[in-house]
């Protein structure tokens, strides 16, 4: 067992479920559906046979090929977002049995081990629904622009290698850089709310995801050239001061990004940056 499994009681429960899972069973999928922005939501149920190793995506694939509800009514295939099916692209994020996570790595054996067990699928609530389980997360990428989440290189010409870096520093940055912009941390955050008006994005809470990315680039020798601009962005309205320190974000991050550590580090940096600005009279 990996350390993550050892520490997390929910993970232990899932492991136990996996052991007791019945072969050849059917599971009920309750899916929250919506035909498009502004349209009402409704629930539909599907009976799905579960082969060994099945996950939420393979079951959704089954529903897409056989769109018939438990009541026997023909319906449209459920729409959802997915890509890698290896929990590395972040696309397939949704709320499963009340908790936000990736659907490709949600094994049915872990959640619904017995005949007739129910899986509940809902779209994330902090982003506008496009259709069914698919939401529009452009705001999340926009927030990466807000904090200038890049290294300002001089262009693609051959200018030799990058800075020498200690294995420890690489380790820190690699961890932060594994963030796949899935949005779990934002879904779970009490301070991050649905905002459909793009004009309000720049002044709404930026969330743990972008704060942690700002840290990633401030930690890089060349990335740090834009440090002050990143701190300015985090100092303004919707910046780091909006974080209520509820720490929900770090609990749901599938990549175990040390988000509270990032928030603390950036909080300190913003404070120092503010003091410096004050003394410079800015």
């Amino acid at each position: 067992m990996s350390t993550a499994t050892k520490l997390d009681p929910a993970a232990a429960q899932r492991a136990a479920n996996r052991k007791s899972a019945k072969a050849g069973r059917t599971v009920i999928f309750r899916v929250k559906r919506c035909e498009g922005p502004g349209k009402p939501s409704r629930w539909e149920e599907f009976k799905v046979p579960v082969p060994p190793g099945a996950n939420v995506i393979s079951c959704l694939q089954h529903i897409a090929a056989n769109p018939v509800t438990t009541q026997g009514a023909r319906t449209t295939p459920v729409v959802w977002d997915s890509g890698c099916l290896e929990e590395v692209c972040g696309a397939c994020t949704m709320v499963i049995n009340g908790r936000v996570r990736q659907s490709c790595s949600a094994l049915i054996d872990d959640y619904a081990p017995q005949e007739g067990d129910v899986m509940v699928l809902e779209p994330m609530s902090k982003f506008p629904v496009v259709r069914d389980l698919w939401v529009d997360r452009s705001r999340l990428f926009h927030n990466l622009q807000r904090v200038k989440a890049w290294v300002p290189i001089d262009g693609t010409y051959d200018l030799g290698s990058g800075p020498i870096e200690s294995p420890a520093s690489q380790g820190t940055r690699y961890k932060l850089s594994e963030c796949m912009s899935c949005g779990c941390c934002l879904e779970a955050c009490p301070q991050f709310n649905l905002e459909e008006d793009k004009a309000a994005w720049d002044t709404s809470f930026i969330g743990a995801h972008a704060i942690s990315q700002a840290r990633l680039f401030n930690e890089h020798a060349t990335g740090a050239i834009l440090k002050d601009e990143r701190l300015d962005a985090l100092m303004g309205q919707g910046g780091i001061n909006d974080c209520g320190n509820a720490q929900n974000c770090v609990k749901v991050c599938p990549k175990h990004i040390p988000l509270t550590e990032s928030i603390a580090a950036m909080g300190r940096a913003v404070t120092i940056h503010g003091i410096k600005k004050f003394f410079r009279g800015e």
Binding site: M1, S2, R18, E35, G36, P51, P52, G53, A54, S58, A64, A65, P67, R74, T76, P77, D81, S82, G83, C84, L85, E86, E87, V88, C89, G90, A91, C104, S105, L107, V130, R131, W134, D136, R137, S138, F141, L144, Q145, A149, W150, V151, I153, G155, T156, D158, L159, G160, S161, I164, E165, P167, Q170, R173, Y174, S177, E178, M180, S181, H220
Partner: protein, 639 residues
């Protein structure tokens, strides 16, 4: 120049590096992708990226040897000059990625660390944890976002490419569809770069992402672009069997010491850890004492297939063998391979640090792709050289333009003027078999090196005088209208009854099953003939397809159903090319022609589609083999 624009279709490594390079050259870029580019399939790559480096160089390795390995690994099917240029640039590309902030693993002194990968005796693979592709993609995504914030790149994410617009033999734009609103429209461009990746979904389940249908390639093929070496499909030796996907177990597991074995006794059901050394059959090590477990992919795949299918020695009588890391220190494994070991534990439930993994081969990569051209560089020896002896001094040093002429407008241009193909979607570099950790390199090389070719073409070629922005609207409108018709015809079938035989999902599944059975690890003339008639039957059924959703908003199942039609055409090209190639070479293995036949087949297969009749034909075409003499590719196998 202000009226000129370039379209890049695809936001994986190839598309993003092209966008960055072209935008940097001063041309505005419109970037199209099915998914937010940060979620492109390149994110899946785990193992690493190859390049000569200072340590290996002092041990006798060179860019030239990397070139030689790649040509040899590809079983002498790749045009050689482009491979030379790519290998020469590789170290510079790593430097650039390093400057972009890619967290490459470091040595104690803070330099970039290296690992061993298949097909080489030198450590020449750079890596960032076990998610190298993700890390490289993110670095390019970040640079693209920077250009986006400056207004130099405009992203069209969740847009699907439907086809190129070709006027007077020149590509002047594309038709695309917004996957949310379902709006279909044309876009003008002075050059179009296809960077749409691979086509694993033609085989049903593979190691690829769910968007890798290859439909974009097929749409160019239907519009007259040639398809080179379509039969060359790489099957990766080590994947984890799964219900929705065959997840890759990276080659780095073997590179870091993973040993492949089965119990010597057929049907031995003991717990693997209780089977003594002497009763284990480490068949790769015994059959290939020199390379052992790190033989190239096609060889490992065929040997595993042989053990399971021919010899019936698979673990528990199933198609699976052990890939064993349990003899290594668990902390070392966590440090080097955490990402991929977690994937195994996450999806199978066993911890590979303590339990041998069970794996089997899966379709992984397409060496074939859109046929592309190039302008040869300055290195042209009087005679091709013999295969390079590993570790000996290189005959040439690094210099720009020895393999390909830098900036030549036709580099990686398809046979359609102004239509380029970069990355996995082209057929260059990898010949009949791709070496591990060479794909990421070829994607980046295309974008960064050939991006300049695109800029030069737009400036100095026909678009210089007649920009697409000034052309009459008619051709653009007609192209969009044709796609709208295709959509309406398909959507018009919803509710028209029909059984499973005309369900696009069923047709897609049958196609995948048939292609996997007939056109992967082992092929033969009679089996391919049978496969071709199956594909023909499926094409006929597809012409009567009945869809299940006619929504005019975010209609995903329509999009998939449309792609099935394109996949069927690509499949036909693959099967016909596999049939024409009556020899065995690299990934293509024919039981009826088990040896390589250079006199007849050291040639590319080139598939062409006749738009008038819909017929697919395949012919052979000479390749460029002016640099290295072919020799038998044995990797020192003991006979």
């Amino acid at each position: 120049m202000s009226q000129h624009r370039v379209i890049v279709v695809g936001g994986g490594l190839a598309g993003l590096s092209a966008s960055v390079r072209i935008a940097e050259a001063g041309l505005p870029v419109d970037l199209f992708s099915l998914v937010p580019v940060k979620r492109s399939h390149s994110v899946c790559a785990q193992g690493g990226i190859n390049a000569c480096n200072d340590v290996a160089r002092q041990q006798g390795y060179s860019e030239y040897e990397h070139f030689d390995e790649t040509v040899y690994g590809g079983d002498f099917l790749a045009d050689q000059h482009p491979v030379l240029e790519m290998a020469m640039w590789a170290p510079k590309i790593i430097d650039l990625l390093d400057r972009m902030g890619v967290p490459f693993n470091r040595t104690a002194e803070g330099r970039r660390d290296l690992r061993l990968f298949g097909g080489s005796l030198f450590k020449r693979t750079h890596f960032a944890g076990a998610t190298t592709g993700q890390q490289l993609l993110y670095a390019l995504d970040e640079q693209t976002r920077r250009f986006e914030s400056e207004g130099k790149v405009t992203k069209y994410e969740f847009w699907e490419f439907l086809g190129p617009i070709v006027e007077d033999g020149r590509c002047v734009g594309i038709v695309a569809q917004d996957m949310r609103t379902m709006q279909i429209r044309s876009f003008r461009a002075d050059a179009v770069v296809m960077a749409t990746g691979g086509n694993g979904l033609v085989f049903g389940k593979s190691t690829n992402s769910v968007i890798c249908t290859g439909a974009a390639l097929a749409r160019c093929f239907r519009a007259g672009a040639w398809y080179g070496n379509p039969e060359m499909i790489q099957v990766h030796p080590t994947a984890i069997p799964g219900a929705d996907k065959l997840r890759l177990m990276s080659e780095s597991a073997r590179g870091e010491g993973g040993r492949v074995w089965v119990p010597r006794k057929k049907g031995d059901t003991r717990d693997p850890k209780s089977i003594p050394e002497a009763e284990r059959y480490y068949f790769l090590e015994e059959r290939y004492p020199k390379y052992g477990n790190i033989v190239p992919r096609d060889i490992a795949t065929r040997e595993i297939f042989d053990i399971c299918v021919n010899e019936g020695m698979g673990v528990d009588g199933k198609n699976q063998v052990y890939l064993d890391l349990t003899h290594k220190d668990p902390d070392y494994l966590t440090r080097k391979l955490e990402g991929i070991l977690d994937i195994y534990e996450k999806f199978v439930g066993d911890d590979p640090r303590f339990t041998p993994m069970r794996i089997f081969p899966a379709v992984h990569y397409s060496m074939g792709g859109l046929w592309t051209q190039f302008v040869k560089g300055s290195y042209n020896p009087a005679e091709p050289r013999k295969k390079h002896a590993s570790g000996t001094p290189a005959p040439i040093d690094w210099k720009v333009g020895q393999g390909m002429l830098h900036g030549a407008p036709t580099n990686m241009m398809t046979n359609i003027e102004g239509l380029y193909a970069f990355g996995e979607v082209n057929f260059a570099y990898h010949g009949a078999n791709r070496l591990g950790a060479n794909a990421l390199l070829s994607c980046l090389f295309d974008g960064l090196f050939c991006g300049l070719s695109v800029a030069n073409y737009v400036r100095d070629g026909k678009p210089g005088k007649t920009p697409a922005s000034g052309m009459a609207a008619q051709a653009f409108d007609a192209a969009a209208a044709k796609e709208a018709d295709r959509m309406n015809r398909l959507l018009g079938t919803v509710g028209k009854g029909g059984d499973a035989s005309v369900n696009p999902y069923a047709i897609g599944k049958e196609l995948g099953d048939e292609m996997t059975a007939a056109c992967t690890v082992v092929r033969s003339g009679p089996r391919l003939a049978q496969c071709l008639s199956k594909v023909t039957e499926l094409r006929d059924r597809y012409s009567r397809a009945v869809l299940s959703d006619d929504a005019s908003w975010t209609n995903q199942s329509f999009s998939y159903s449309r792609a099935v039609g394109d996949m069927l055409i690509a499949a036909e090209a693959m099967v016909k090319a596999a049939d024409l190639r009556k020899e065995s070479r690299g990934a293509h293995y024919r039981t009826d022609f088990p040896t390589r036949d250079d006199s007849q087949f050291m040639k590319s297969t080139v598939a062409k589609h006749d738009p008038a009749t819909g017929a697919v034909s395949v012919e052979l075409q000479e390749i460029d083999h002016a640099l290295i003499l072919p020799e038998a590719r044995t990797y020192g196998k003991k006979s």
